[in-house]
Structure formats: C-alpha cells, structure tokens
Amino acid sequence: MSYLIREALHTDLDQLMVLENSCFGSDAWDPDTMHSELVAKHTHYLVAFSTDESQRLLGYAGISKIPGNDQADIQTIAVSEQSRGKGIGKALMLKLLQQAREEQTEEMFLEVRADNSAAQKLYLDLGFEHIDTRKRYYQPDDVDAWVMRLQFANSVVGREPIVLGIETSCDETGVGIVRGNTLLANIISSSMDEHARFGGVVPEIAARAHLEALKPTLDQALAKAQISLKDIDAIAVTNGPGLGGALMVGIGAAKALSVATGKPLYAVNHLVGHVGVDILERGELKTPTVALLVSGGHTSLLLVRDLLNDVELLGETIDDAAGEAFDKVARILRLKYPGGPEIDKAAVGGNPKAIRFPRGLSLPKDMEKHRYDFSFSGLKTAVARWVEVAEAKNEKFSVADVAASFREAVADVLVTKAVNACLDHNVPRLLLGGGVVANARLREVAQERCDANGIELRIPALSLCTDNGAMIAALGSQLIMAGRAPSSLHFGSESTLPVTTVQSL
C-alpha cells in the first residue's frame, strides 16, 4: 500500500476524530482537545493518507515540545486497524523523531499500555528504553503504563548514520563509508591480477587476498573519510550471494569489528547493494526501476518497486555469467584476463555484423519460458567452434570481427531483455550495475534502445558499478534510516541468497 505523510492541518480534524474514536474508544480525546493539539505552537502532528483514489486517513501521530526545553513527548499515535503491520506507524515515528532531533531535543518520552506488545516492540526497535511503570494508569481497564525514553545522544534515529560497509563476495575487497545518502569513502583492493594467469577468478586465491587486504583497505577508507572507528554508527557486510569462502572473510571481520566497537551490524544482499548505490549519486533511488546487473559472477534482471521491501528477480543466467563469457571468449581469442576490456580493445574497427552469433534464450519457444533469463554458454561454444573451424581450415580471420560480433551478441541480448522488462512492466527506468557495465558497446546499445523507447537510463560511476563497499554501506544506511533492527551475530554466508532477502537477520 502506498501512502504519503504530511503535516496535519486543522481541516483534517473530522477524519482524525473518526480514527481517534475507532482506535481509542472510551479513551479517545474529544474534538476540542484534538483541535487544540493540532493548532498549538508547541506540537507537531503528522498524518498518513493513502495515495489511491480513496485518499483515506491511515494514521497520525504527534509530539509536544516546549521551545527551550530539551525534552519532548510523544502525545499520541494511531494507525487504522486495516493498515497496521505495514510500517506506517514506524514511518510516522521516524519523521517525528527526526523533527525532534532537529529542534535539539535530547530526550523523548512516551507512555504505552503494558499489554500492547506490538507498540512496545516498535518503540524498542527505535531505541526507546522502558524506564518506569505507572501502575493502573489506564482506566477503566486497570492496565499499567510503561514509561519509555529515547536518549538521542545514544541513538542514530532521526539523523544520518555514518555506516561502514565491507564487501568480499568475489575478487574485490571493498570498504566504503557513507553518511546517510552521502559517499565519504570507497576504497577497493582487487586481486584481479593474481587471477590473470589462471584466466578466471580462483576462489581460494580471492579469499586469501581478502584476508591480506582487509585491514589496509579499512585504514585507507577511514583516512579518506577523515573519521575514526569511534565515529561509525553501524557496520554493514555482504553475506551473499557470492563465493562462500570469500564472503566468510568479510563476515568474520565485520562481526569482530561489531563486537569490539559495540556498533550494530547489518548483513545485506550484494545484488540489492548494486541497485541501491544510485542513491549515493542522486540522493534517492527512483522507483519503480528495472535493474540489469552484469558481472563476472552475476547476470540478473530485477524489478525494484521499493529498495528495502519489494525487489523481484525477473530472470538471471541459467549457465555462465556475462562477464565469464567475456573471459572465456578472450581465452579462445588468446587475449588476456579480464576479458571484457581486452575484447573491447580487440573489437575496435571490427564489424559487429560480420558473424551472426546466437542470442541465448531469444527464440520464441525459449521466450515463453525464459523471457528474462540469459544463457551465454551456447554463445561461448559458438565462438569456439567458429574459431576452431577457421583454424582447422587454416583460414585467416579477423579477430576484430569475431570480438565485435561476440560483443554485439552479448550487448544485444542483455539490452533486449532489459528493455522488454521495462516495457512489459510499464517501468520507465533502467539501472545498470556490475563490472561488465564498463563495456563500451553495452553502454552504447543500452543508451540507444532506452532513448528509442522513452526509458531513462542510469549508469552509476564505474567505481560504484563494480563490486564495492560503498554500496553495502549505502544499503545499511537505508535500513537504519528506515528504523530496521540490526542483524544478529549468528548469520552465515549465503552463496545463493535470493534478492528478496535484503537483510539477513
């Protein structure tokens, strides 16, 4: 359900009273009390309305803060019965707490019924503590009241958190630092060169390199952000999807850092991190958006309606990742690793239409079952066969033509399916992510086809497209600002973590 939150107006009074009476019954305020609350100088009231045609009032909440006083009180909060459990109460509270913090409030108080465990959990998650109990406060029900207090100095609620992100899911050790939606540092140490002589990422070599690189990468990130670990509000770490042994290095490091510093820990999804990184460039993620994530380990097409709550996997590769196909074809053409930039170089001057290599899963029968899925294994084999045949016949052939034709096949199928996803779902935005986005032809084809179809194309800076810690920090920051509770210390690595799990608890 979508809704909007705005300041309450005195003209909202009638609707407020209907909800007040239905929520509080005999405890309900009378209209005069409600009216004076709404118009008083020392109060803030917010209302949540549904954005559908009905424009119903879904909830409201208010605080009272006397100017010059550094304490404030939650006066009331109500959410209509059919709209509960959807985060509306939390969203109202977060906005009020943010306002209170901006007005230099140091402590916030509230009373809640001792038998209302759902509300208590919300307040505890937001950082309130139960400090006192008022006996038989609520009459005639004869129910105790919990007095709860939030000390802003001990909490990040209502301000932009400084978050450290650790990423070790493949061959890049990334440590990033953000404040709210702002990038402070993004340091990446890659073991790519160590894999070159093997022609592909060797998981054990990647994991060994993470262990060596972690501390220097962290130190550099802190220096770049000009902060110390004491300034960090929380730590975020990738726990999947990715290479298990590599992920575990980051997880062990992040957990120990969390225990050592006492800072909360958030275990987050690598692929959702790739999507959320756009926030660091634009200050927001425009949704809904289709996201095409293409790297050496992933080729995924996502439909993102809401970064934290609604990410759907439309399709993914059923065999090789696109980046892997570049690496393998580079080997076939006796080019270096990583294959992407080498094939880009080799393709210069080549004719992309010289050889019609197959577009995986694009035939009508495949499109029925695998409309948004990818396959690059057959393409790689087709290139290998073509080269074999040419070599067997001792024919001279143009490496530039082969490289350009192969690259065209990859770019064509990636962009065709991504644009289909946008058109099918009526989504006017496409976001690219992953290291293969560095590929010049992919960017060109994406721009041409998006322009032709009225789709807004977003390609973040390359340092934010490749695997990095900043995107992990950014996702952690979004979770914190949405009032999400931290992860436990028990989570493990999840090599095949689905995109629907944004945070592992």
Binding site: R197, F198, G199, G200, V202, E204, I205, A207, R208, H210, L211, L214, K215, L218, L229, G244, G245, L247, M248, V249, G250, I251, G252, A253, A254, K255, A256, L257, S258, V259, A260, T261, G262, L265, K328, R331, I332, R334, Y337, L489, H490, F491, G492, S493
Partner: protein, 222 residues
Amino acid sequence: MSNKISAQYNLCIDTSAGTTVAVMQGGEVRSEINFDENMKHAERIGDAIAQAINSAGIKPSQITNVVVGRGPAPFTGLRIGIAAAVMFAEGVGAKLYGVTSLDAIAHAAFKNGADNSIPLLVTADARRSEVYWALYSGVTKSGAPIMIEGPSVAKPAALEELLADKKLQRTQIKVAAQDLGKVFEAQQNDGTASHDVTALYLREADAVVPKDLRDFGKKVSG
C-alpha cells in the same frame, strides 16, 4: 613477569579446528567458549567472542592483546579467526599477535605430563587424507614449546616413514584458546612473541596454471 603484563587481558582466538575463544589474564583463564564442530566458523565467531568477553566480566575496550592461532589448518575456517582477530584488534586499539596453533597443543601436552626428554609429535587434521604436523623437543623455562621440525603437511603413511627410526611421543589433545594464550604469555616472557598473523596454509591455492588458457576450469586435488 611484571605486574603490568599480568594485569593485561588477552583475547585468544583459534579457528584452525573448531571455534575456540578465551579471555586470559596473567596466566589465568577468565573465560573460554568452545564450539568443537569443524564448521560454521563464520556463524559462530561473533557470538564466541562476545560471550567470552561477557563471561570474563569485562568490556571489549579492556582487551590489551589479541592472540590468534595461525594454523596450520585447512583454508576457510582458519581465515575467519584471523580476519576476526585483525579487526577486533583494530576496533579496540589492541596489539595483535600470532601463535602457531600446533604450539598450543604441544604446550597442553607437556603441561599434562608429556616427557620433556622425548620429542613430541603434534598432528592436526589437514583433510584430503593428510595431516599437519610438527615435532617439539620440550618447552622453555617460561613454558613456550620448542619446535624442532615442521610445521608441515604430509600423508600419514609418509609421516610414519619419515619418523620411523625416531623415538617419539604423541598427543590426542585438541587446540584450545586458553593454551594459545598460555603459549603467548610464555613467548612474551621469553621475548619471542610475534606480531606475524599470516595464515599457515602450507598448501598452494587449489588451482593450477593451465598450459593453455583455453583449458581453464580443470582442477587438481592437492
């Protein structure tokens, strides 16, 4: 041992076999948490450290030294303990030290009555039908084990052959974080404590350089 050193809290972490974490102070065990299973190190390391510190009744910031077992050990688990130790030390500004995990076993064996005049063979599971091993001649006055051969990795049969003509004693003791801490304190006393926390894998990464890069993906077992 000076009072200053004996008052220090040492956090000891070893993931060369199971997950074992201890808080030590002046030779005394303040707490020890053990998960024996040789798996799930990533899941357990955070809880193990937090519980060890809580049970010792101290705050993380009171830790002066972090001591970590460097193995030898199979790859994945070992790294988790070292990564955790490095980051914990960074997080609280503690000094970081490495101890060979087999030394901890040797220390415990000698303490539990192993004969100081006969070399002690310490082995640990290296998987793939191999063992890690080291040979010790005894301990220093402070109690630090003296390694005379190893650490190495071998097939058990090859190890038997290698050591056939030697009179040896063996031990079945498993590595425990408190023994790691005791080795560290002895080494500190002897002036041999080391800041080297490099993982002792003793095996190359599990991959070979293909003769022809077109053959990538073929692996050999090592």
